[in-house]
């Protein structure tokens, strides 16, 4: 009988499969240490990940305390190091009383940490985040981390899940504030995307105001497709809360919300609030979606908006 433990002197150098690794060990674990797959032809039980992930535990006292400590120490430290944020417009929230939806443009994963550390109390201490169910709640580990540390609840991006909407509305009615990105996902190229009506729908259902927020600079910190952040300067500009008026519908309110964020973007970019308001009233705000055209032209146009940096020295090759 062949000795199975005997190694071929050549194959252990060439055969990668024979190399021990954690993932290989994990893969080798079988039932009952690992859940069994549903046999073909059988209907799987409803998943408890994705939109069905239950997050109530993340709003209990111990979890809230953990989150608060983590955000005010590690979270604040990380965001100060990478984003050195400038926070504007907090005075516009002076009269805001009770829960609200904070609706921001979305450029980066850094946005959520930036929002949760930039929002003023009491809203920051009782906030939850609408996070993509398919991305953040895809498995139980990322779901638990998202729920615990950023207070996320799953929001379906591609389908309507009544449970997640009801959960968000219940929380808003129960005094929790929500951070949501009406664009539905991170910017692929640094420009904004058209707002979807989710924030408007929730505002109407829950009867809470929506605070438009513009975030600038996080695309450079951790843009889509990058795994490690780099340092840059970010600005968070809070706008005046918008109430869902009787004459509004979801579409009209969403347009109003997007216009408010665009006006804030204009204000942040130019530093001239009055000029930004003039352009907003005459519907000439530059917008956050950028020009139409090839990707390189959009990127080119975006470079005009970047903060110019210069070390004062010309470097070879001189051009």
């Amino acid at each position: 009988m062949a000795d199975l433990n005997r190694r071929n002197p050549i194959s252990h150098l060439t055969d990668r499969r024979s190399k021990a690794s954690i993932s290989r060990v994990v893969r080798k674990v079988e039932f009952p240490l690992k859940a069994a797959e549903t046999p073909e032809g059988e209907t799987p039980l409803p998943s408890n990940t994705g939109g069905n992930y239950e997050t109530d535990w993340a709003r209990r006292y111990a979890s809230r305390l953990t989150r608060r400590i983590a955000l005010s120490t590690i979270g604040k430290g990380v965001i100060s190091y990478y984003a050195n944020p400038t926070i504007r417009g907090l005075d516009r929230l002076h009269d805001l009383d009770g829960p609200a939806i904070f609706a921001a443009n979305h450029q980066s994963h850094a946005d959520t940490l930036l929002m949760l550390t930039s929002m003023p109390p009491p809203w920051k201490h009782k906030a939850f985040v609408g996070a993509a169910a398919d991305y953040f709640f895809g498995n139980r580990t990322t779901a638990a981390i998202s729920a615990l540390f950023i207070g996320a609840i799953p929001i379906e991006r591609t389908s309507i899940n009544r449970n997640t909407i009801e959960k968000a509305v219940d929380l808003l009615r129960g005094g929790w504030s929500m951070v949501i990105y009406p664009e539905g996902g991170r910017s692929p190229d640094g420009w904004g995307q058209e707002f979807r009506p989710g924030a408007a729908f929730l505002a109407k259902q829950a009867g809470v105001p929506v605070v438009p927020v513009h975030i600038r600079g996080t695309f450079d910190i951790l843009r889509k497709g990058r795994n490690w952040p780099k340092r840059s300067n970010a600005t968070v500009n809070f706008g005046r809360p918008l109430e869902f008026a009787e004459e509004d519908n979801n579409r009209r309110f969403t347009r109003k919300l997007q216009a408010a964020v665009e006006s804030l973007a204009d204000e942040t970019a130019t530093g001239n609030w009055f000029a930004a308001r003039q352009r907003s009233h005459s519907e000439e705000s530059p917008g956050i979606q950028g020009p139409d055209g090839a990707p390189w032209r959009r990127r080119w146009a975006l470079s005009d908006k970047d903060d110019k940096r210069s070390d004062g020295e010309r470097r070879w090759p001189y051009v």
Partner: protein, 529 residues
């Protein structure tokens, strides 16, 4: 629970020592039985929806003025003037009401397509506001939008090219205002009416004016004939300002006046024990008061000053009205009285007052002896309606350390006034005739006023004139705890303790005088019947 009215407490054996403000500190004074203590009204409920109230005022103006939106058109020349650092006291917690109003005004102007907008701090002969102070008053957004382009600035009453002479009233009072304002299609004035003297025609006629016009009412005669200058119906200062204001209106200058009133919620936590009645302080508040007093007694005055100057009042808006100046001011005054008036029966032989660390002219600065006198004998003494709280020939006892100390940047002419003028005479009339013109036209003071952060050369004179009604009315002024030399220089007497001061007062008012203490701030105005 609605706010309680102020009260007049009759002191008896059970009355606790009364907390006296004493500059950057406090004193506890046991007053004789039978004395009275006048407590202010509690802060009245503020308006909850401030932005809504501002919008309502702009859309529903008083008098014959159209709504603001109808007054703003593309291509027009718009000037927005606002009250300077002397209001409110202390500075209010951000966001300041001026900034909130001006944002809405500018937003309306932006929607109308108005491009030519100037914002002017209407400081008359006060010191210029620093960038930080302007940012606090107007907010960063307004500051960043207008200051870099030179469209937001401090008024300069000594710039000959920036003033316009509009004429003279039928009483010969010159009327001079900012050229930019006079040539604008519309002036919008944003006011904070802390006391009943503020606002109305005074806003533009004085705030945007210069020495040549202001001297007609900032003088001894006017002050002595204003009984008091806080009571519009009996104020010569008010009458003269109104004459000038009406001339401005008749000259075709269009003004949209926005006036606000605040409640007297003056001290934020942990200082809020300062607006409690002594017997209503909790054990924690009493400990805090005692600890704070001990601490303030120990720390250097400079440190105590910076602690106090850092206080930002949690004032609440109690009314806002806009439109035609006189109609607006009637409503404003009624709202000021609603908060401040406390009915007091009869006058007193001795009036005592604890003077706090702050007056209108030492925000972020030092309260020098002249400002101490002005706060006590100018402002507090004049906070009456009807007749003065103290009888003619009575005694005023003020409590303040009154240090011989001046802010060299803010108050340069005060130093010379104190050293030169008061060393010669304390008689306001003699001072006015002998010295005023020289100080008012001094080139160095003029230079410092225009380019640094100095009050105008003539300003200490006005502070002294502010006291002239009181100086004429009372028989003696005693400062408890006051620096002896500084007190003597002003012609007053200093006492180490309240007991000593009362003993000294008996020389003037007899052995068995009545005493009334004004428990102010928070601000109160005595309605003496």
């Amino acid at each position: 629970m609605s706010a309680r009215q102020g009260l007049v407490l009759e002191v008896d054996r059970t009355t606790p020592p009364i907390v006296f403000h004493h500059g950057e500190g406090f004193r506890f004074e046991k007053l004789p039985s039978g004395s009275r203590v006048v407590y202010p009204n509690e802060p009245i409920e503020p308006i909850e929806d401030v932005d809504g109230a501002i919008r309502h005022a702009l859309d529903n103006p008083l008098g014959d003025s159209p709504p603001l939106a109808a007054l703003l058109t593309a291509g027009m020349k718009l000037t927005i003037a606002f009250d300077d650092i002397s209001l409110p006291l202390p500075q209010m917690q951000a966001p300041d009401i001026r900034g909130r109003i001006i944002e809405q005004v500018l937003d309306t102007a932006a929607s109308a397509g108005v491009d030519d907008v100037h914002l002017i701090a209407a400081l008359a002969l006060h010191r210029r506001m620093t960038e930080g102070e302007l940012r606090h008053a107007l907010g960063d957004r307004v500051y960043d939008a207008f200051a870099p382009t030179g469209q937001l600035y401090n008024f300069d009453a000594e710039d000959p090219d920036a003033l316009t002479h509009l004429g003279e009233t039928d009483h010969g009072e010159e009327v001079v205002i900012s050229k930019r304002a006079a040539e604008s299609d519309l002036i919008i004035y944003v006011n904070i009416n802390l006391v009943s003297m503020d606002g109305g025609h005074k806003s533009v006629a004085t705030g945007l004016s210069g020495y040549s016009a202001i001297r007609h009412h900032h003088n001894v005669e006017t002050m002595r004939r204003s009984k008091s200058f806080m009571d519009q119906e009996k104020s010569e200062l008010h009458t003269k300002n109104w004459r000038q204001g009406r001339l401005i209106r008749n000259a075709g200058v269009k003004i949209f006046q926005i006036e606000t009133t605040l409640n007297n919620n003056t001290f934020p936590a942990p200082w809020d024990f300062l607006q409690k009645r002594e017997w209503e302080m909790s054990a924690k508040e009493r400990m805090l008061l005692l600890g704070t007093k001990k601490f303030l007694d120990k720390v250097p005055r400079k440190s105590a000053r910076s602690i106090f100057q850092g206080i930002r009042a949690p004032f609440g808006l109690t009314s806002i009205q806009a439109g035609e100046v006189e109609e607006v001011h009637k409503v404003t005054t009624a709202n000021v009285y609603r908060q401040h008036l406390v009915r007091v029966e009869g006058q007193t032989d001795i009036l005592s007052m604890g003077l706090p660390y702050l007056g209108p002219y030492n925000v972020n600065s030092i309260m020098n002896p002249i400002l101490v006198a002005c706060l006590g004998l100018g402002y507090f003494f004049n906070l009456y309606k009807g007749k003065p709280l103290v009888r003619e020939g009575g005694v005023v006892i003020m409590s303040h350390p009154t240090p011989w100390e001046f802010h060299p940047v803010h108050h340069p002419s005060y130093i010379d006034f104190f050293e030169e003028v008061l060393a010669d005479t304390t008689d306001p009339e003699k001072i006015e005739h002998k010295y005023e013109k020289r100080y008012a036209e001094d080139e160095w003071y003029r230079h410092l006023y225009r380019t640094s952060y100095a009050y105008h050369g003539v300003h200490p004179f006005y502070m002294w004139y502010w006291c002239s009604h009181a100086l004429q009315h009372v028989g003696q002024v005693i400062i408890v705890g006051g620096d002896q030399r500084a007190t003597k220089r002003m012609g007053f007497r200093s006492a180490t303790t309240m007991r000593d001061a009362l003993e000294m007062a008996t020389d003037v008012v007899g052995r068995d005088p009545t005493l009334t203490h004004l428990h102010n701030p928070p601000v109160l105005m005595a309605d003496v019947v």
